[in-house]
């Protein structure tokens, strides 16, 4: 009895650990799963910008500072990234909602879905910014 337990304990200790991400060949679906989480994390902190904007707009003081930030090159860069993260996470969310219904898991379907997610988010972000910069006449 005691012998059996010792053997069991040793075999438990030497059991291989479950392999983690780096052991697998990266695939597009895997990368897009990680990107969905990263964009979600970025949007989490992006909500601070929304709160700042709303607070700044609520009183005469401080709105100029927000506008200065939003039109500075670093502000524009952050807002551009925010736009892409938002659209990407939203399209990724739609993809997950489709998957929740049990559809779209075929080998071609899932590849098509993630490719559409990535291409769609980049295209929509660029179109939105081109539209905004053209209509606003901002250089």
């Amino acid at each position: 009895m005691a012998d059996t337990r010792t053997v069991e304990r040793r075999s438990a200790a030497e059991r291989p650990l479950s392999p983690h991400l780096q052991i697998y060949k990266p695939t597009l679906t895997m990368m897009m799963s990680i990107v969905h989480r990263i964009t979600g994390g970025a949007l989490y902190f992006g909500m601070l910008l929304v709160a700042w904007w709303l607070i700044a707009a609520s009183s005469p003081n401080g709105y100029a500072r927000f506008q200065w930030f939003a039109s500075s090159w670093i502000g524009r860069l952050i807002l551009f990234g925010y736009t892409w993260a938002l659209i990407h996470h939203m399209l990724g969310g739609v993809r997950h909602l489709i998957w929740d219904t049990g559809r779209g898991f075929g080998p071609n379907e899932r590849e098509w879905l993630v490719a559409a997610n990535l291409i769609g988010s980049i295209a929509l972000t660029l179109l939105l910014w081109i539209f905004v910069l053209l209509t606003m006449g901002v250089s």
């Binding site: 979600g40 994390g41 709160a51 707009a57 609520s58 938002l86 939105l128």
Partner: protein, 130 residues
């Protein structure tokens, strides 16, 4: 020694309860807010684009109008709930040490409530012209 007839613990049998039937609460709420976020975020982005380049007085006037303020409040609430659950899942996936996990889970809740409170307060202030 013969094994137990089933895997329920004696305590569970004494209490006579089954599952709390609330195991899917977060799963469901994450999808509910995900669906709500789609129209609300599109509306919020359109509002933000419309307000670009306007001065504070004009911005506040539009932000304080009932339709815009209500849409933005719903946008903030739905997003903050979605954010809180999402970050909780990330923390639970990567942080396994009890004290840091609990600290981060509390910080996550505090952050989401604080950001939500600031945004809602600002919208109410603008709406009521305080």
């Amino acid at each position: 020694m013969s094994g137990p007839a089933h895997i329920r613990t004696p305590l569970a049998r004494v209490r006579g309860y089954g599952s709390a039937k609330s195991g899917t609460e977060h799963f469901w709420r994450q999808r509910l807010t995900a669906v709500a976020n789609i129209p609300l975020t599109i509306a919020a982005v359109i509002i933000m684009i419309m307000l670009m380049g306007r001065n504070q007085a004009a911005t506040a006037q539009i932000l304080g109008s009932p339709t815009v303020a209500i849409i933005l409040m719903l946008f903030v609430i739905s997003n903050v709930v979605h954010m809180k659950i999402g970050m909780q899942v990330i923390i639970e996936d990567y942080v396994h040490e009890d004290s840091s996990k609990l600290t981060l889970l509390m910080a996550n809740t505090f952050f989401c409530w604080a950001v939500g409170a600031v945004a809602i307060y600002a919208l109410l202030k603008t709406s009521f012209g305080l």
